[in-house]
Structure formats: C-alpha cells, structure tokens
C-alpha cells in the first residue's frame, strides 16, 4: 500500500453494513477498499442468529439460492418463562414458507459475511483482511476525513470518503473523539452457543418441514428476571442458543453472562429442546441500545457512520439489527456515489446521508423505539411481576380440581389482584404499548390510518 494510492471510498469493517456499502459503491464504479481486521471477512462477526434481508434481497434478488443462509424462519415463538411454568405465543404462517420467506433467515455470520464480502469483491471492491484501522486521517484544518491509518507498515491510505462500519465497539469513533463512554444500562452483552443437532432432529423437535426453521424468543425467568432475553434459533444442523442481558444487570446482581446462559439452558422447558447437543462454538458481542437520543454524529466532512457503530438497532420485540445495518450501508453508499458525481465531500454534501436515513425506516424506527431501553429499566415489572402473574393465573385456571369453576375464577382474579395494582397496570400498559410495541392503543378506537401514513 503506497501512500500515493487514493481511492474513492474506504470502508472500515466487512460486516453487513460494510459489505453492503462496498457492494453498492463498487457496482456504481467507484474504486472501493474494505478493511477487515479478521483473518477473513466474517471471522470476527457474530449476532444472535436471525438475518433480516429486505435490502440484501433488493441488491441480490433471490440471494437465498446461493447464499449460505441456514433456514427460513416460518415459525416465531415468544415465550415467557417462570421457574416451573411457561406461557407461549406461537405464530406460524404458510405465507412465510414461500419466497421471499418473509425476508427472515437464520444465519451464521462467519459463513454469511464471507459470502457477502465476496459478492462485493465480485462487483469490484478490494477487501483487505487482517488489517486493523486505528484512526482516520484528517485534513490540515481537521474539517474533513481524507483517509485512514491502518496498523500496517506504510498503512496510511487515502480516499474521498470513509464509511465507518466497524461494529458495536465503535473504536474508530472513539479514536476520532466522536463518542463518549458507553453507559452499562444502554449496552447489552449477547453471548451465544452454537450447538450441534442433526437436521431431522431439529425438524422433529421444532415441528417444522424439512429445511424450514423456527425462532423462539424467551423472557422472564429465562434470564433470571433480568432486563434482557434469551433465544433459540434453528440453523441447518446447529442451534443458536443465547442470552442478552443489559450490562448493568451483571453489575447489580454479580451474576455472569455465562451463568445466566447455563441457567436458561437448564430450564425444564428449554432443556428438552437441547437434548443430545454438543457445544460447537461459544461467542459474544455487545448490542448498542443507547438509541435515537444518543446517536453519534452520523456524518461529517468525508465520513459516514453505519450499522452497529452508529447504534442502529431496534431493541423492541423485533430484535432487528441486520436490516438497519444493511439499509444504512446502502444509504451511505448512495450518498457517496452522489458526492463523487458532484465532487463535493464536505459535511454539507454528506448530510444527504442523514436525510436519506430520516426518510427510511431506519431513523423512523429508531425514533419510534427510542425509549424502549429506558422504559424497561423504569418498569422491570413487565419482565417479572406481570408475566409471572399471568402465568400464575393460567396455572390456577388450568389446574384441575373438584372446586366449582366460579370459585376457580375467583382465585384467578385474586392471583391478579394480589400481585398487580389495576390502575398502575393499565397506565403502564398504555405507555408500554406506545414505547415498546410502537403503537397508540387509542388508535384501535380512532383508526390506524396506515394508508394515509404510507402516502405521507
């Protein structure tokens, strides 16, 4: 790498955001370089295990025919665990079994990201693995980023635009002085085991057809009543099993993430799903949940920030991150292409990126779900007392006795009243619906107005 080389775009990180940006830039004919610190793209990358693919499918139509995705998710389950009981909601759809499979696939990132980066390379991007980028190079007035400093001999490389896609730890933003310290209550540690299980056993155990998959999200006692959740996702011949817990919970309780994972796996209603499995791999990452209010500067002279580095995750029940990463990577690339055409790489020109984000689902969802993390910390009862109460009510309701049913029902009501204050519950549920589920319950009466909203 000589210092004379200058590229149109440098992308830091070959994850979902970085490779999407690389693919779009390279296709438009921009000279594109991707720096990846892993020994190959994907080797440092992990996530829970569900890939949301509207953007990938738009860029590579029917990508699932060639991409190393695991199984389309046709069955989604949400499960509240108490110590001895569980209450679950399952949604299963015939529609999800047909292309594009609800744009929802289980995946393993070491495999998928390697393939995805190779697609960017096919389009003309150059991927440099085994290269850490420690800082950016500013121009003399420190107004514009003009390149990056990699930890290699003569590792400085110059470009008109740097797209930052270095993931949740956001070390590059820190080096640039663009982010402060993270708060433990706004970051989640996700730790996961990949467990081997024969494909037929997966299909039998999760009651899905051959080649199809299921996802189960767990709450409540799954993570010892802490703020967070657990999950089981089905891959081809493995399961992704893990937990995500807000880091302040580890600090408060002094229970370690792996203790919580062991606890979750040992629950009688979870254990049976894991019977006969062996640990293939153990991994961890952090999930940035600081949200809309604490976003870092998303663009500036010569740079744009995408994916987890920017904090683009949907922390509500959707648990989406990959579609935000791919969408932000695509929008950054489109901005880069326009900037290149205009020959203007100033912060003003790149502000088009923020505008594109604001108009897309990325920033709209970030804004809609901006209070999820704080709301749950203020109201942990939504993960403990309330579900526990409903599970207790279900237990009383379904327990067979010789008591007349009107007595049983009175017991059910008493279960509720002894644990929950009705008015507080109603008020909190209203707020919860608005902040966590993202809709106003009053709109059930007043009308949703989806058509008008979509037409703007």
């Amino acid at each position: 790498m000589g210092s004379d080389d200058k590229f149109d775009v440098i992308i830091v990180g070959a994850g979902l955001a970085g490779s999407t940006a690389a693919l779009v830039c390279a296709r438009a004919g921009l000279s594109t370089v991707v720096f990846e610190r892993g020994e190959r793209p994907g080797s440092k990358n992990m996530f829970g295990g569900i890939l949301f693919t509207p953007v990938i499918n738009e860029l590579i139509p029917n990508f699932w025919e060639e991409a190393p995705v695991e199984r389309p998710i046709v069955k989604k389950e949400f499960s509240f665990l108490a110590k001895d009981n569980s209450l679950r909601v399952v949604f299963q759809s015939e529609k999800f079994r047909k292309p594009p499979y609800n744009n929802n696939f289980s995946a393993l990132r070491a495999r998928f990201d390697e393939w995805y980066a190779a697609k960017a390379e096919e389009a003309g991007a150059i991927v440099f693995p085994e290269t850490v980028v420690d800082d950016v190079i500013w121009d003399a007035k420190r107004e514009r980023v003009i390149g990056v400093k990699s930890r290699r001999e003569e590792g400085d490389l110059y470009a008109d635009i740097v797209i930052i896609a270095d993931g949740a730890t956001a070390m590059l933003l820190k080096a640039m002085g663009l982010r402060g310290d993270f708060a433990p209550e706004e970051q989640v540690t996700l730790c996961k085991e990949v467990l081997s299980l024969a494909p037929e056993k997966i299909e039998d155990r999760f009651a899905v057809e051959k080649g199809e998959g299921a996802s189960i999200e767990y709450f409540g006692e799954a993570v010892m009543g802490m703020i967070g959740g657990a999950f089981i996702y089905t891959n081809k011949d493995t399961l992704s099993v893990g937990i995500g817990v807000s880091i302040d919970e580890n600090l408060r309780t002094k229970v370690t993430p792996y203790n919580i994972l062991d606890y979750f796996k040992s629950h009688p209603h979870v254990r049976k799903l894991l019977e006969g499995t062996k640990v293939e791999e153990y991994s961890a990452k952090i999930i940035p949940e600081f949200g809309f209010r604490k976003l870092p500067p998303l663009y500036g002279g010569g740079y744009m920030v995408t994916g987890d580095a920017a904090g683009f995750v949907n922390t509500s029940l959707y648990h989406e991150g990959s579609n935000f990463a791919t969408a932000s990577g695509k929008l950054a690339a489109e901005t880069a292409i326009e900037a290149k055409a205009a020959g203007d790489f100033s912060a003003k020109a790149l502000s088009a990126y923020r505008k594109k984000l604001d108009e897309s689902f990325v920033m709209k969802d970030m804004a809609l779900f901006q209070d999820v993390c704080h709301f749950i910390h203020d109201h942990p009862e939504f993960l403990t007392t309330y579900p526990d109460t409903f599970i207790k009510m279900a237990e009383t309701y379904l327990t067979v006795t010789d008591k007349p049913k009107d007595v049983v029902m009175r017991h059910v009501v008493d279960d509720f009243r002894s644990n929950v204050r009705m008015w507080k519950f109603m008020m909190d549920s209203y707020t919860m619906a608005r902040k966590v589920l993202g809709f106003n319950p009053l709109s059930l009466v007043l009308g949703g107005g989806a058509k008008e909203k979509e037409q703007g």
């Binding site: 610190r37 892993g38 020994e39 080797s43 440092k44 990358n45 996530f47 110590k83 393993l108 990132r109 070491a110 998928f112 990201d113 693995p129 085994e130 290269t131 850490v132 420690d134 990699s150 930890r151 290699r152 730890t169 070390m171 310290d181 433990p184 970051q187 540690t189 730790c191 085991e193 493995t238 880091i247 302040d248 580890n250 600090l251 408060r252 002094k254 229970v255 370690t256 993430p257 792996y258 203790n259 606890y263 040992s266 629950h267 254990r271 049976k272 894991l274 019977e275 006969g276 499995t277 640990v279 293939e280 791999e281 153990y282 991994s283 961890a284 990452k285 952090i286 704080h374 203020d378």
Partner: protein, 131 residues
C-alpha cells in the same frame, strides 16, 4: 423521561474473591447430571472457539492502582469469557488470550482501571467458524 438511576457506587459493595462468588452463582434449574446435553464450564467452552493469540502483544491491560479503589470488581462478573480474575492479594489480572473482543469490560469498567483496550493486530484474536 427516564427515571432509572443506576447505583454505581463503587465503594458500597465489598469485593469478593471471584472464584467463590462465581461458584455460588452456578445455579441450574435441572441437576447437572440430568441435563441431557453437553454442559461445559466457561473455560472448557472457550476451547471450542478458535483464538489466534498474538503472544507478547496484549490488547487488554488493567492498572491495579485504580482497581484498588474499586470495590465493585465488575470486570469479574461482566466478562462472558471470564478473562478477569482476582488473586489472594486482591490484585486484578486479565488474560487476553480467549477474549471475544466484545467490549463488555470497557462498558462495565466505570473506574477506568481497564487502561488498555484495543483491537488485536489484524488476523489475531478470536476467529469464529460459525459466528
């Protein structure tokens, strides 16, 4: 607006030797011999993940002068791969081999005794097969 005020008073919690504490937290809802799946301790699990350690170039480091002032010792409880240990003299040790580079410790270390946290040299560190 958010009302949640985390209690991060570092002087409150008496530091406990981690081996004892962590042992005490190993609660399972089914007895270990009846689990029916391969149940591994965290250190055994780490052998299932590939690490290419750049020996002689640690990417993590603590300053025990700062750690001494921290009674919380959260690094012992937050790390998913149990990289932090406390010895009998109360000194914190960090072993960078087997680190996922996840970043949890730099979020959790509020007293900033974790004075070194950088990415390992390109190609080194954790290398996932599955991810």
């Amino acid at each position: 607006m958010a009302k949640y005020k985390p209690n991060y008073d570092m002087t409150k919690e008496a530091g406990l030797v981690n081996e004892v504490t962590i042992e005490a937290r190993k609660v399972l809802l089914t007895p270990a011999d009846k689990l029916g799946y391969e149940h591994l301790g965290v250190l055994d699990k780490l052998y299932r993940t590939t690490f290419k350690t750049n020996f002689g170039d640690p990417h993590l480091g603590v300053d025990n002068d700062i750690c001494k002032t921290c009674a919380g010792n959260w690094c012992l409880y937050c790390c998913p791969s149990q990289r932090f240990t406390k010895d009998a003299e109360g000194l914190i040790h960090v072993d960078y081999e087997g680190c996922f580079e996840c970043g949890t410790c730099f979020v959790a270390c509020l007293p900033k005794g974790l004075v070194l946290w950088k990415q390992p040299l390109g190609g080194f560190g954790v290398s996932y097969k599955y991810g």
